[in-house]
């Protein structure tokens, strides 16, 4: 890092780009398949939630309960998926000794059903 600091800005930019690329490569190679599936789903949820929020800012929030229902569906689903990721990640096995993958997934499905029921009810 001493060498890169003495060589100025251009070097830093190139280094940042290289760090990002190696970060991405490391992610693709080392992450288990199921975890990547969870991450893909979470990215999808962020896009859907973001689109709804941008629409709300542009076109107004009438009816407000509908906006809340739609937006909180994505946010709630994101939270549930995040907790599934935490519970099924191999690196966290020490914290979840008594929790099987199947149990985590069953909790995820149950929570998601409750969330969907709430959102459909709230939007009327």
């Amino acid at each position: 890092s001493n060498a890169s600091a003495s060589l100025g800005n251009i070097r830093n930019a190139q280094d940042a780009q290289q760090i990002a690329i190696s970060l991405w490569n490391n992610y693709v190679e080392k992450t288990p398949q199921r975890t990547k599936l969870i991450d893909a789903f979470m990215a999808f949820l962020m896009v859907v939630g973001g689109l709804q929020f941008v629409y709300c800012v542009i076109a107004g929030n009438y009816p407000f309960n509908a906006f809340l229902a739609g937006f909180s569906a994505t946010v709630g689903q994101f939270v549930l998926t995040a907790s599934l990721r935490i519970q099924t990640n191999a690196d966290n096995e020490n914290d979840f000794k008594n929790l099987s993958q199947e149990r985590a997934f069953a909790d995820f499905v149950f929570g998601s059903m409750i969330l969907h029921f709430f959102c459909v009810n709230f939007i009327n």
Binding site: Q52, P63, A90, S112, H116
Partner: protein, 475 residues
Amino acid sequence: MNLRVLGLLLALLGAVAALSAQGSKLLVVLEDEAEKSKYSQFWASLEDRGFQVTYKSPKDSSLSLFAYGEPAYSHLLVLPTKAKGLGPNLTPNLIVDFINAGSNILLALSAQLSVPSAVSSLLLELDITLPPDRNSLIVDHFNYDTQSANEQHDVLLLPSPQASRKDVKNYFSVDGLIAFPHTVGQVLGNASPLLSPVVKAPSTAYIYNPKEEFESLEDVFATGSQINIVSAFQARNSARFTVLGSVEALEDKWFDASVQLPGAGKKSEKTANKAFAQKLSAWTFKELGVLRVGSVSHYLNEGSQKGVSNTTAVGAALDINPTIYRIKNDVHYSIEMSEWENDHWAPFTPAAGDALQLEFSMLSPFWRLDLQPTAQTANSSIYSAEFKLPDQHGIFNFFVEYRRPFLTSVEEKRTVTVRHFAHDEWPRSFVISGAYPWIGGIWVTVIGWVIFVAVWLYSKPAQPKRQLKAGNVKR
């Protein structure tokens, strides 16, 4: 006897089929039996219209306005007395109680007999002021009868009274001149909305005391149309009290006298006193200007009950006068009004330019609507309105209040509850077009979740299935 036969014949000739809407028992209070014959045509006209007339003197001990706590008569006619008062049975308090009990009174005054203080104080109760000089009368140097009062100018000849406003019905119009000899003028107070002038003096009249012969008049009590010759008072319970300034206007002599106004080119003509006396007594004794409310109904004007034109035709199927509505409901209100016409109830029409109004109010009106005439039966006219209830829940009243001069007062109130939306009455999200993006958002999330679950179940687990030994599992 001859006069009586003549009176009966005249009564037959001028027979009017009329009845009072309130009752037929009429008490006439006069001091002498001798006076009775002076007004024989008037009595005949009253009896012909269905009144049962009782004649009593104020000194008569059997005279009583009340019997067993109820009014003994529906109507009272008081002629002026020479005595200082009206006797112990006609004190101002008793007469006021009589009015409060709903009965009508016609009080006649005369300038030739000084007005007793009991009568003055009674009229003061109604905010009618009499001149303080007990002997004053109304004098007019331009509207007097040249044939009988050429020097005194105290027999007034007035044209038919006009309605004070365009939108008030005129019940007292007659053809010809009315003669008012020796009239006691009255001045009406401003405070009371219950007082109405019937005949006002012309602008050239003034109040004069003939006993004091002054060259010019100083400090006159009232002049011009400030002076009322006939005043009408209608209490809140619609009981009527009329003050007639000149009792001689009811005499047979003046019913068909020949009179002539001063001035060149004026001809002699007959008075219209008989017609005026009939109209005045008809109004006072509730033959004219009496309104009645028939049925009041309101119903929900939505769904299967929408646009029902005739509530009686639908019958039991229509839910009339429910106790509870919801905000923003469409409702239909109708009220049936009749006016008494001679001897039966007839459909009522307000004067041109006037309207019957409905208020829908909680503390203050949220709606004030003109009621439109929608139907007519043989005896009544049905007025209705259709409107949407306000966006406010609470306890509301359908209130119709119609108070007009010379008409009995109408006050009808129906109370209903207006509730808010129930949990299942809100519009569904799919009927609100603005909610479509969010509905889409929810279902996109759900479908994405289903796909995620499907892919997860068919994918390889991240680590091999752990062997759960019995000892490891803590439940």
